[in-house]
């Protein structure tokens, strides 16, 4: 039993944390948020240079990490800084799917930061249901519509799920493919997504099934949970600082017992969230991984809401202003619940898997 990070991961964490603290300031991030692209190409290159993207892949895939704890370390730091660049969707999910498909040249580009991807799976009316795929693959072309596709506009290629007969499989679609239409829009918590229409769009079969997509989603669950954890750490830290510096009725508001005790509860729950992310990362390869992942996502959803709401409440008005760091962080935390199944979805999955 050992809960210390390896030296390599400790170094990765330190490097990434330092880089983001210096470069990814509130002001820089707010500029990115309001930019047309919704992401910074410079930041993306630098993340690649720092090895952050490579840490998401195993050595066989051309990276130098790829395990649950590698993802946890990277995404916790991205979450702490409120990074909106699509590391999760473009590099992790897209890249790992291509790695499973044996597209090592493209994976190399992903790790180098020179290739952007998008995973187009969810469809209108599908909510979080993995099986809800009406898009059809028929003789080398795709027909259908995909909903809220993260990073769709910036992607060089889209990885699209579609039914060929009954089976769901994944296909590669180039950004300039015929019949591909993307209606892009910004997201409340930063970054951009789009509604994707495929009208007899030529595609390349990837020889990947729904099972592969589920495996990639498991990685994404570790990542989004760790990201939310990092954001919760920021929220808690900002709140603690605020309570210690802000005075009202002549004293720091943190000396008011109610706020002090509620702060204590947040710290207790933050430890719970930290342990939940460790469980998700540590049991990612276990036979009952899905049970642990759903447990974690449910807990992160519950505690995330508490931390976001309590942090805003304890700040008061200042946290309601868009330019204040916590506003963005709180949005990241809450909106993470809308990805890869929400609190209730994973509660149900946990119940089903517990009964099995």
């Amino acid at each position: 039993m050992n809960f210390e990070l390896t030296e390599e991961r400790q170094m990765l964490q330190d490097t990434l944390r330092r880089y983001l603290r210096e470069k990814y300031t509130t002001a820089v991030r707010n500029d990115i948020l309001t930019s047309d692209a919704g992401l910074s190409a410079d930041i993306w290159s630098e993340l690649a240079e720092l090895g952050v993207l490579g840490a998401l892949f195993t050595e066989e895939m051309g990276g130098f990490g790829g395990a649950g704890f590698d993802l946890a370390v990277v995404f916790e730091e991205l979450g702490r800084a409120g990074v909106v660049e699509p590391v999760l969707d473009s590099a992790l999910m897209g890249g790992r799917l291509l790695a499973s498909a044996g597209k090592s040249d493209m994976v190399e580009e992903v790790i180098a930061g020179s290739l952007h991807l998008a995973v187009a799976h969810g469809e209108p009316g599908g909510r979080y249901d993995m099986d809800h795929v009406h898009t059809k693959a028929d003789g080398g072309v795709l027909i259908g519509r995909k909903a809220v596709v993260m990073n769709a506009e910036a992607a060089d290629h889209l990885i699209v799920s579609a039914r060929d007969g009954d089976a769901i499989a994944l296909y590669l679609v180039a950004k300039d493919a015929k019949g591909l239409d993307i209606q892009g829009y910004p997201l409340l918590a930063g970054g951009r997504a789009g509604e994707v229409t495929l009208d007899k769009t030529p595609c390349e079969p990837l020889n990947l099934s729904l099972t592969d997509l589920q495996a990639a989603t498991s990685l994404a669950l570790v990542a989004i949970s760790a990201e939310a954890l990092g954001a919760m750490e920021s929220a808690t830290h900002l709140t603690k600082d605020y309570l210690m510096t802000r005075t009202q009725f002549g004293r720091p508001i943190g000396t008011f017992q109610t706020l002090a005790h509620r702060m204590a509860d947040l710290l207790i729950e933050l430890e719970q969230a930290r342990s939940a992310v460790i469980n998700a990362a540590g049991y990612l390869e276990a036979s009952d991984a899905d049970l642990h992942l759903s447990a974690t996502k449910n807990l992160i959803g519950r505690i995330g809401r508490l931390v976001a709401e309590e942090s805003i409440q304890m700040h008061g008005g200042i946290a309601m202003t868009q330019e204040y760091e916590l506003a963005h962080i709180a949005k990241r935390i809450v909106m993470a619940d809308h990805r890869f199944g929400d609190t209730d979805y994973h509660l149900e999955r946990f119940i089903a898997l517990s009964a099995a």
Binding site: A193, E195, R305, Q313, G317, E323, A330, D344
Partner: protein, 400 residues
């Protein structure tokens, strides 16, 4: 005990329903239903419609042009209006300044300002909060120094809701810097077109721009714009704060919001069935539904007591806390229903202009509303302040 309306009350309810059916513009109701920000034109139009009917100032005496409704009538109107997705009345002139002028203003002030509130000549905003003061109103710093027939005002107000539309602001200003805390504060009416007044929007976390900072630099205000006596402003401010409480629980808004959640959850699919049939989601809906039913009855109880002459100070604090918790829970449910489609940032949709933002449930920007309504437990005396009031009142010998 009788929980049903009297015949008169039922007749009034019908009258309100007919009015709303005939007079409320449907495009306005649609915006309200979707949580899309109303423009200044919309709000002025709705005020004019109400004013034409004599219903714009429900709580004003008839002698000042008000409807002089009793508490139950006001409750009926508020509930029906919310159910019909009518816009909220902009409260600053009607619910806040109006009663203060009626009680403490001079005859000249009443004659000049009150009709202008009703006919829309003036749009008022509120200058109470200051940066760094939060719920501690008494520590305010904006100074007003007498200079001949004028006060010269310097300082800054914040959280000024809809200040961008206003031409007038009522302010708490410090006229005696040596007095401590609540003393030495005056209540001043300031024309926002006076040189030295600057309004800067504060963008809230949901992207809305409804609140503002207002800066005063050597702003000259005629002394006749002082309400009541110099250095007695705290009395008027407290009167204002405690005056308008009939709708503090927001029962109507919560009922309308919960109805929208149910409608959306019947349309939303969850693993092949309507989401509303999912036991876990249904449990969330049912619990807030049950809480809301109880609070609606609390609200009626308190209103009926107020109509009978009781003093609902303590109860108002209770209703504000519970009311905000329930409304925020309903906002949370709406966000959950929307699933992945809660994520798009409908900045333009806030003003109803964007077609590219997907909104399959016709729900409007539900996540933005969730964040925006965090304000309900912060502004207007935070829930912590309210709990402090409740504890103080009851622990010092009130009822349990």
């Amino acid at each position: 005990m009788d929980m049903s309306f009297t015949d008169d009350e039922l007749a009034f309810q019908n009258e309100v329903r007919e009015f709303l059916r005939d007079e409320l513009p449907s495009e306005m109701a649609d915006k309200v239903a979707k949580g899309i920000e109303l423009g200044k034109d919309d709000m002025e139009r709705w005020h004019a419609i109400l004013n034409a009917r004599g219903w714009l100032a429900p709580n004003w005496p008839k002698s000042f042009g008000g409807a002089e409704w009793n508490a139950v009538q006001r409750h009926i109107f508020d509930t029906e209006a919310a159910a019909a997705n009518a816009p909220r009345i902009v409260p600053f002139g009607l619910s806040m300044l109006g009663p203060v002028l009626q009680k403490f203003g001079s005859k000249e002030q009443q004659d000049h300002w009150l009709p202008r509130i009703l006919d829309g000549s003036d749009w008022w905003c509120q200058g109470y909060s200051e940066p760094g003061a939060g719920s501690d109103l008494a520590s305010l710093k904006t100074r007003a120094v007498r200079d001949g027939d004028h006060y010269v005002v310097n300082g800054q107000k914040t959280w000024t809701t809809l200040g961008q539309h206003a031409n007038m602001i009522f302010c708490l200003v410090r006229t005696d810097p040596d007095a401590k805390q609540q003393e030495g504060i005056s209540f001043l009416l300031i024309d926002m077109n006076t040189p030295g007044v600057e309004v800067r929007p504060i963008i809230l976390l949901d992207g809305s721009d409804e609140v503002n900072e207002v800066w005063f630099t050597d702003v000259r205000v005629p002394v006749e714009n002082l309400v009541g006596d110099e250095n007695e402003g705290w009395t008027y401010a407290k009167y204002l704060l405690t005056h308008e409480r009939a709708n503090i629980a927001g029962v109507g808004f919560s009922q309308a919001g919960l109805a929208a959640v149910k409608r959306m959850a019947r349309a939303e699919n969850h693993n092949g069935r309507p989401l509303i049939e999912n036991p876990h989601f249904a449990a969330r809906v049912a619990q807030v539904d049950i809480d809301l039913r109880a609070m609606a009855t609390s609200n009626l109880r308190i209103i009926s007591k107020a109509a009978a002459g009781g003093a609902p100070g303590l109860e108002a604090s209770m209703l504000k806390v519970k009311g905000s918790i329930i409304r925020q829970e309903i906002n949370d449910l709406a966000r959950r229903v929307a699933g992945p489609y809660a994520m798009p940032f409908a900045s333009e949709a806030l003003e109803g202009a964007n077609d590219t933002i997907p909104d399959p449930l016709g729900a409007g920007p539900v996540a933005a509303q969730y964040f925006n309504n965090r304000k309900l437990s912060i502004f207007g005396g935070s829930n912590e302040i309210q709990r402090g009031i409740i504890a103080k009142v009851t622990m010092s010998g009130g009822r349990a």
